[in-house]
């Protein structure tokens, strides 16, 4: 790589634009994050691991990451089908569905939280019939799972949709002329090239789910060891003025998230390399 700092350009304004961007980025994002790093380094690795080993912390982390992975996995199917239906079929109400997919992006999390709770509570529209069947959703881990699926769905749909709509019809036709049934064409020809898009959606949905707070705390019931998620534990620790504990939980969450995202990125790079792209 050449050590050119800035490629010459006839356009003006690079220095002030970059300067302003870096200043804002530094003040608003990097310095606060640095405070977390500073505090975490004060605890030391052993201090953090000791806190991570506390049963309540370990239970919360396991719950958060376990349910987030499950929710992202379910969203591969749900989001996949929704993206497929929205890009492939023309039917009345398609535009409305398409617009509605973004609702979890736009709806404030606290609103989503109380609304999901109302719907899935034992006296709610869906909660009541499920309760009659013996399923409790709200105030159990299942409720958390529902909220995490809700929050992750648009990430999956919006990652897959554009790539799916760019699939050339010719490769489907080629598969058909070679004698493949429609289902085989979908599973062997259309879907495999979409794996990177699904991985992107999975990673985004997962990252969001792990850190999600507002839409979860109302429906979760927040019982330690059972339905207490890691972000809530941070809040609890802060309310107890245990900043060290909060910092440790936050640090572990970030480390685990980045580790998982790194793994997904490596898988993605492998998939791309294997098929001769980039």
């Amino acid at each position: 790589m050449r050590t050119v700092l800035l490629k010459p350009s006839p356009l003006p304004g690079f220095t002030p634009a970059l300067g302003a961007a870096l200043l804002w980025l530094g003040l608003l994002v990097l310095i606060p994050l640095a405070a977390l790093v500073w505090r975490a380094s004060g605890l030391g690795l052993s201090g953090i691991l000791a806190i991570a080993g506390q049963p309540r912390v370990a239970a919360a982390l396991k719950l958060s990451f376990g349910l987030s992975l499950l929710a992202a996995a379910l969203n591969v199917v749900l989001g996949g089908v929704v993206a497929w239906v929205l890009t492939r079929y023309e039917f009345p109400g398609r535009r409305l569905l398409d617009a509605a997919v973004d609702l979890p992006f736009a709806l404030p999390t606290a609103v989503a939280g109380i609304a999901l709770t109302a719907v899935y509570a034992p006296n709610g529209w869906i909660g009541a019939p499920l309760d009659a069947l013996g399923f409790k959703v709200a105030f159990t881990p299942l409720g958390i799972f529902i909220a995490l699926v809700f929050i992750g769905l648009p990430f999956m749909v919006r990652s897959v949709e554009p790539v799916l709509s760019e699939v050339e019809p010719e490769i489907e036709e080629a598969s058909a002329t070679l004698g493949a049934s429609r289902l085989r064409t979908i599973f062997q020809v259309v879907l495999p090239p979409l794996v990177p898009a699904f991985l992107t959606g999975f990673a985004l949905a997962l990252a969001r789910a792990v850190g999600e707070y507002g839409s979860v705390v109302f429906i979760s019931g927040n019982i330690p060891f059972v339905s207490e998620i890691a972000p809530l534990l941070i809040v609890v620790r802060l309310e107890e003025f245990d900043e060290a504990g909060a910092t440790a939980v936050a640090t572990i969450m970030l480390a685990l998230s980045f580790a998982i995202l790194l793994i997904i990125n490596l898988v993605q790079a492998h998939v791309r390399r294997r098929t001769g792209h980039d």
């Binding site: 080629a174 002329t177 004698g179 493949a180 020809v189 495999p192 001769g276």
Partner: protein
């Protein structure tokens, strides 16, 4: 496998893409479907493959009505313009796909498949590239993988949509010769679509020319070039001069000059077509004359623009090697071959002496 197409129609919404095409293709023939864009040639090819369902008419493979069979059942080899290779499968997986997706009862064994892939790679001269992915191949190599993939199902007919459209000129010329040669060796009935007349004339046993959804002429390349059936083909294939003329009392006239006798009943405006190489400058010619307005070189040929005295029409004339002519020179003209068309149909001269001297 011979292919018979009867009164084939295809309508997209309100606009007809094909109306009433009849075409007979003999087993083992290499047919070029030639036409300008929007002429319906790709629609015809896709209808044969089963990728488009005709609005009316039939397609027969051998004696069987293929219209009844789905695309999967037709066993056609289709090579797409952009190749449509499966980019997540390597070359061997692409080529073997059509064999692997067969129902278990008719699926070849893995060893048979492997052997067949080897044979096909050998045939398309890509041996050794089994594990490459399409993204790692050149355009010409991709084209040959697509061809091998289509041949792997032992197709009853091989259909190629603009097979060289996406390649640069040099590769294109090499592949023409190579494909012609491959056809000779494998003997598959082959139909290819092109908008390039040189390609169609050079490669095909017979050329079928489509215009606005209708078949205008089918014939050997020489036949098409030497005796175009319609004014459209005269102008579409090769260069042609078009001169409007008049028919009155059974006599075709170019201005005052009498061109020849035609059947009684053809009255009014008509068109005369002739190629620049069929117009010869001849001082002895008495019927047609004109004035050279410009001289040009076009590759191997020298050309003169001539204004005809008889009607004032501008025509192009090829000059023989070493001809000494100059602008504003007055010349006499003789036509070696020509076509006379009235109402879009070819009209023959009744007198044998229709060579204009």
């Amino acid at each position: 496998m011979d292919i018979t197409i009867r009164r084939l129609q295809k309508t997209f919404g309100a606009s007809p893409a094909l109306h009433g095409v009849d075409l007979d293709i003999r087993s083992g023939e290499l047919i070029g479907l030639l036409g300008p864009s929007g002429s319906g040639k790709t629609t015809l090819l896709r209808a044969i493959a089963g990728l488009e369902r005709p609005s009316a008419g039939q397609i027969f493979f051998g004696g069987q009505n293929a219209s009844m069979f789905s695309v999967q059942e037709r066993r056609v080899g289709f090579v797409f313009q952009n190749y449509a290779l499966f980019r997540h499968m390597n070359v061997a997986e692409n080529i073997s796909y059509g064999m692997r997706v067969r129902p278990r009862a008719t699926r070849p064994s893995p060893q048979q498949i492997k052997q067949r892939v080897g044979e096909l790679l050998d045939l398309v001269q890509l041996t050794g590239l089994e594990v490459r992915f399409p993204g790692q191949l050149s355009g010409g190599q991709r084209q040959r993988v697509a061809l091998a993939r289509a041949l792997a199902v032992d197709p009853r007919v091989l259909l190629l949509d603009e097979p060289f459209g996406a390649l640069d000129a040099r590769v294109r010329k090499d592949l023409r010769v190579w494909l012609r040669d491959l056809h000779k060796r494998t003997g598959h009935t082959t139909i290819f679509v092109t908008h390039d007349q040189d390609e169609a004339l050079e490669m095909s046993d017979r050329v079928a020319i489509l215009n606005r959804g209708a078949l205008e002429q089918i014939g050997a390349p020489d036949e098409i070039y030497n005796a175009p059936a319609t004014p459209f083909i005269f102008q579409f294939i090769g260069d042609a001069n078009r001169v409007p003329l008049n028919i009155a009392n059974g006599q075709a006239r170019l201005g005052a000059a009498k061109l020849g006798r035609v059947s009684i009943g053809l009255e009014g405006a008509a068109e005369l077509f002739f190629r620049p190489e069929d117009a010869v400058i001849d001082e002895a010619a008495g019927l047609l004359s004109g004035e050279i307005t410009a001289l040009r070189r076009q590759g191997a040929k020298r050309r003169a623009d001539v204004r005809l005295d008889q009607t004032g029409a501008m025509i192009e004339v090829d000059l023989p090697y070493g001809a000494i002519v100059y602008p504003s020179q007055r010349v006499g003209l003789r036509l070696e071959r020509m076509g006379l068309f009235a109402n879009g149909r070819r009209v023959s001269f009744l007198d044998e002496a229709h060579r204009v001297a």
